[in-house]
């Protein structure tokens, strides 16, 4: 397996956690490469290790064994905080928006960390509009928005970071089918813009998406479907 520029490579990734008296191997020697401009879907049952895998990929958790590289650089050497700030953003199932802020303000937080120059407000509106949030909605508290709208805001915030990797953990888990389709469409557009988009889901709709490269996670092992 050869590292390419702007390619995210997972090598021999193994992860365990202690469950009381015994150790549980959550990930078993995972090897996978994610290339820019593509949408990846990782499907599997609950507890199969999907969330653990993307936590390690997005530097939200510490790698125990194996390595994750981006552009040939070990992300541990880049540093977890720096990697999160400059390389990867995560969309969570629960949206994880700051509730006392408006949609626009949430996006501006993402812009702050990206080192965006110029008017954050206008850029936030642009990003929100790009995911289907109007200006009126953008100025509303996120609590007042629907689940689908909140997820769009979360995606816009990820985009604000202008990072090359977008990781989504069950982004449509709380959404109805119609909204799910629209969200997937957004991810497809993001991938088309040249970013690596990794979507963890148990949704067959995502898995059956023609453009997505689908991996199946089972009992800590990853295989191409």
């Amino acid at each position: 397996m050869t590292d390419k520029k702007d390619t995210l490579v997972v090598k021999n990734l193994t992860h365990t956690y202690s469950d009381g008296q015994r150790k549980v191997e959550v990930l078993k020697n995972i090897n996978v490469t994610f290339e820019p401009g593509r949408l990846y879907a990782i499907v599997g049952e609950s507890g199969s290790g999907k969330t653990t895998l993307i936590s390690l990929i997005s530097a939200l958790d510490k790698i125990q064994s194996g390595e994750v590289t981006y552009g040939g650089k070990d992300i541990r050497k880049i540093g977890a905080q720096a990697f999160r700030q400059h390389y990867v953003n995560v969309v969570f199932q629960a949206f994880n928006l700051i509730k006392y802020m408006t949609a626009r303000e949430n996006v501006e937080v993402g812009l702050d960390f990206s080192g965006h120059k110029g008017s954050g407000r206008e850029r936030a509106y642009e990003l929100l509009e790009s995911v289907g949030i109007t200006r009126d909605q953008a100025d509303s508290l996120v609590q007042k928005l629907s689940g689908g709208q909140q997820q769009r805001v979360a995606i816009a915030r990820c985009l604000a970071g202008e990072v090359p990797i977008i990781v989504a953990d069950e982004p449509t888990g709380n959404l109805d089918e119609d909204t799910e389709g629209k969200i997937l469409q957004i991810f497809r557009q993001i991938a088309a813009s040249g970013k690596i988009v990794i979507v963890v889901t148990h949704s067959q709709k995502v898995a059956s998406h023609a453009d997505a490269t689908v991996y199946h996670m089972k009992a800590g092992a990853l295989s191409l479907k």
Binding site: S58, D61, Q81, R84, N96, V109, F113
Partner: protein, 481 residues
């Protein structure tokens, strides 16, 4: 500075206990020389000083006031003179009876042993000679009960470098009622009692003449610059106050040569310097100890004045530290709760790439902003609260202090009765307690307030910061934190 009564008492006891009369120590009242008094005053710890010289003069063209003191002294003198005359009479009677007894004895021995006398031949002359030379008892003792300052003149002259330093003026029992006081620069000016002035129709500006008590008396003319009144009972109203130089003009060269000063008092630059002053003086003037003198620190006035303030200060200091500790605890608790409530937000920020230091900084900046608003609001309210609290606390302290003083005074009244030496060492403090407090704060105080406030906020941030450092975005966002 005054005689060291303890040292004198010890010396007296040593002399009394000495079995060898030749080696018995002679105890004399120590005196304070003017150069010593002035030398001590050169200390860096001395702000001001005073001493007095006491002499006397005779009235020249005015009549002295008959005072209760004069009357009492005369009564004592009269009683003593009577006792002395009676004793002399008794001694004279005793001597007469002894002479008669000796004579009778001689006559009896002559009549009973004339033969024997003849045998002895001429020895009767010798017997007669023994009778003539029988010891006669004499009583020749005199004593003057009057005030030493009046031992020679009828007017007491007290020289002091400033009238304000006269003990009675300091304790408030004496005050100028007309004219003005004198100081070192006043030339030939005296302050006389109102009674003396009234008795002689003297006014401020009048001339008053004295005759010195020297064998060759000289006339001295002074100008009355002030008239005083006193509330002291049995006061000698013939006491005239003037400055040191003027008082010295009443003295002879011999008196000036052996001049001793009295009522030597030094005023320290700060009560805190008392130990340093005593140490420095003891090292520089060892004769103070060897001459049985003693420097007593009398900070009773200071303590009386500032006692309640110091108690309030001490209480305020205690309250301050309690408030600081409580504030740190409360703010720490508030910030910990705040950080815990916002841990989800912090998890989000961490997932977006925020540095933990930035998150701690954000919380701290928020705290500083809120704190600064609070401090600014306190600028107006703290003054009012502090003034009210200060007044209330001081009122309590003054009341408490006055009660304690009253109890002590009653106790002292009982203890002082038999004391002879206590009169030399006890000074009644006339200082008024500070019973009002003016709370004011300047730039320095407010800078301190802000500084301490910010310090409290920094300390209060320690525990919440540790919590933030422990946060893992994954566990927060997974809801496991």
């Amino acid at each position: 500075m005054q005689p060291d009564t303890d040292a004198l008492r010890a010396a007296a006891e040593k002399a009394r206990d000495s079995s060898d009369s030749d080696s018995a120590a002679q105890i004399t009242q120590p005196t304070i020389s003017e150069p010593l008094a002035k030398g001590i005053a050169d200390s860096q710890y001395i702000k001001d000083y005073t001493y007095s010289v006491v002499t006397s003069a005779n009235a020249d063209g005015y009549k002295v006031v008959e005072t209760a003191q004069n009357e009492r002294e005369m009564q004592f003198q009269s009683a003593f003179d009577n006792a002395k005359n009676q004793a002399n009479d008794q001694v004279e009677q005793f001597n007469q009876r002894r002479t008669e007894f000796n004579r009778e004895q001689e006559n009896n021995s002559q009549s009973q042993g004339s033969g024997q006398n003849q045998r002895q031949g001429g020895s009767s002359r010798g017997g007669s000679g023994d009778t003539r030379s029988a010891p006669q008892f004499n009583f020749n003792f005199d004593f003057n009960f009057s005030d030493p300052t009046l031992s020679r003149g009828d007017t007491a002259i007290q020289g002091v470098n400033s009238f304000a330093f006269v003990s009675d003026v300091e304790n408030g029992s004496m005050k100028i009622v007309e004219g003005q006081a004198f100081d070192e620069s006043t030339k030939d000016g005296v302050v006389i009692s109102q009674k003396l002035a009234d008795a002689n129709s003297l006014k401020v500006g009048s001339e008053i003449k004295f005759k010195t008590t020297a064998d060759t008396a000289k006339e001295l003319t002074f100008k009355v610059v002030g008239i005083y009144s006193t509330s002291t009972e049995d006061f000698n109203y013939n006491t005239v106050y003037t400055n040191i130089d003027s008082a010295k003009s009443f003295m002879t060269d011999d008196q000036l040569k052996d001049l001793s000063v009295q009522d030597v008092r030094y005023y320290l630059t700060s009560a805190e310097n008392k130990d340093a002053f005593l140490k420095e003086t003891a090292a520089k003037y060892p004769e103070i100890k060897t001459d049985n003198l003693k420097l007593d620190i009398d900070d009773s006035s200071y303590q009386t004045m500032v006692g309640p303030i110091e108690h309030v200060g001490s209480f305020a200091s205690t309250v301050f530290w309690i408030v600081v500790a409580a504030t740190v605890a409360i703010i720490t608790l508030i910030v910990v709760i705040n950080v815990k409530d916002r841990r989800y937000e912090m998890g989000v920020l961490l997932s977006l790439g925020a540095k933990r230091g930035n998150i701690i900084g954000q919380v701290f900046v928020e705290l500083i902003v809120v704190g600064t608003i609070g401090f600014l609001l306190s600028l107006g309210t703290s003054h009012l609260i502090a003034q009210k609290m200060g007044d209330s606390l001081l009122k309590q302290q003054v009341a408490s202090s006055q009660q304690a003083t009253s109890d002590t005074t009653q106790q002292r009244g009982i203890n002082a009765r038999p004391g002879g030496f206590s009169r030399m060492t006890t000074r009644q403090s006339s200082a008024k307690q500070i019973d009002t407090i003016d709370v004011s704060a300047g730039v320095h105080e407010y800078a301190m307030l802000f500084g301490i406030g910010y310090l409290i906020l920094i300390v209060a941030m320690i525990l919440p910061s540790i919590n933030v450092l422990r946060y893992q975005p994954k566990t927060i966002l997974a809801g496991k934190e």
